[in-house]
Amino acid sequence: MRNVVDTTPEGNMVLNVGPQHPSTHGVLHLFITVNGETILNLDPNIGYIHRSIEKMCESLSYRQFIYSTSRMDYLSAHMNNHGCALTVEKGLQVEVPERAEVIRIIISELTRLASHQLWWGSLAMDLGALSPFFYAFREREMITDIMEETCGARLTMNYIVPGGVMADIHPDFQRKVKEFIVQFKSKIGEYHELVTDNVIFQNRTKGIGILSKEDAISYGCTGPTARGSGLSCDIRKIYPYSAYKNIQFKEILETEGDSFARYMVRMREMEESVHIIEQLIDNIPEGEFQAKTKAVLKLPKGEFYTRLETARGELGVYIVSEGGTTPYRIKFRSPGFSNLSALNHMVKGHKIGDLVSVMGTLDLVIPDIDR
């Protein structure tokens, strides 16, 4: 069952980390072979939350399957829905109203912020600093409030329908988002004071879990993980979709490839997201929020693939249609899956404590990996 490691037996032992372990953030199971504290080999064992979403979607209609994908990467539920909607719209060749596009992007960026804040809090918690978690959730709660008001739910928003969004934004939306931005900007310095500049944190992350650019490409890493290694792979920038074409923003790149670089990418990405929201929040175009679509959607025969950037990296939605009301085959290329495959490479030779920091900066969401 386990990847057998060729090691001398003396002093080596096999340690199960997970499925129930505080730092795996879910039900990831890692077989690690350790000698003392040094990790000799790591073998991820996933599937503890494999919910057969791909099989299930084959029997759901194009309107319905979008909602089950929120449960995949629940921290970027909105982006998952967005990806599915984009694919369906591509097949149907529906023009999405501009207003819906902008709303989608604002919500996406808010989701990204919420996801990164949760990541920041839980990374600090994994490394032993418990208070940042609470400060992160203070700001995150503001976002979930906004979500709740406009989308109707806090986490799995189900706000997107093929052709637009389910409802228009709440009248309070813009005011609340601006309030959030003010609050966030006043607190981001605190984040750096507490964690980024902390000497212990820097020692725990600098030079740990180095992933070179070549390896990042070969392992198919995406998102902040790959951008920390200097691989430019922000889908928003290089293959712009939705309204990202018209928005000014920077792609965040760091070149060190260690845990600290990945950390910094995410921290700076948060500020960039705020920048995007600031551009859009006062310029939401008037108009419809939803395009007219038929009651029963039928995609033409063919194959449709959408790439988009979630909080974790590149999500691919691959739909094979046979012309019916349900997809023939659907495949989600999840960002966490490929990032996880690089984990063994990254932690080999490090300590058990480093495993936590590397896993924390990979920002794995296990249901996203298992689907």
């Binding site: 490394l127 032993g128 600093a129 418990l130 212990i200 058990i352 404590g353």
Partner: protein, 358 residues
Amino acid sequence: MFSIENILNSFHEWLSSMLNQNMVMLLEMTLIAFFAITLFATLGLVLVYLERKVSAFIQIRKGPNRVGPFGIFQTTADTLKLIVKESFMPNSVDKFLYQLAPFIVMITAMLLLAPLPFARGVQIWNINIGVFYVTAVSSLSVIGILMAGWASNNKYSLLGAMRSGAQIVSYELSAGMAILSIIVLTGSLNLQDIIASQENGWWIFKGHIPAIVAFVIYIIAVTAETNRAPFDLAEAESELTGGFHTEYAGMRFALFFLAEYINIFIVCAIGATLFFGGWMPFHIGNWEAFNHVMDFIPSSIWFFGKTFFLIILIMWFRWTFPRLRVDQLLNLEWKYLLPISMLNLLVMTLIAIKGWHF
């Protein structure tokens, strides 16, 4: 003036006048045991509650406030629950050592109470090598932890115990050096003498910068010795799930938990005694009037006040800093704390001999 010392003395004389010496001895021993148990239980409850409240305020939340007014019975409920929870022992453990370990840890913590001067003249055993006794006995607790980790037959426990072993013994050194620098100043190992020498000011103020450096090193070292964050590698929840007490449940776990908090109290009490004058009120040189006003505050309040100040300081560390990695932890000791404390000791000796301190 109200003084516990007088009450205790008159009580002792009253007993001696009524009973023979052996009986007095026996009775007093029972009373001490009773006192120690009460102190233990109370301190455990208060410290855990304090920790939860401190963490709550740092983390912008309210903390326990449902069970009793302001939640003060929260820890009572926890303790009761732990007592009535199944004290379960896994099959695969080394049964003897597994059961012995919590006792060792408890006995160590209890023994450390002996030389603590709780107030003017209140001390269980006025041992003339008090400081030495504390450093010697406190290193015994590592045996309990190693025993627990080994006996549990669990890899996480073993790793936790090994880490804690390497950590506690290492930090013993710099803690010892920091203590030595005060001993150089006082020239006595007796805790009462050390307190008496701070009659006209506490060492942390009188001893210039070396005393402050020694204090900082002492606080860092004892934080590590008591396995507190940021040095809680022996437990390290996010790495080792529970560390050395992973396999302990119910009452046995509660004993470890309790001993940990008592140890914090003891090291803070020693720290307060060495650097802040123990029960000695805040005196400034020869400002007679001021010193006299300060004397009106009972000495036990001074002692507990200072101790709790240090405890809150240590809790403040815990809720602020990330955890160190095991090799960084040892680096910190061997590359930074130990050389610095050696140098500090030399400077302190120079100050002491030249009489530059106040």
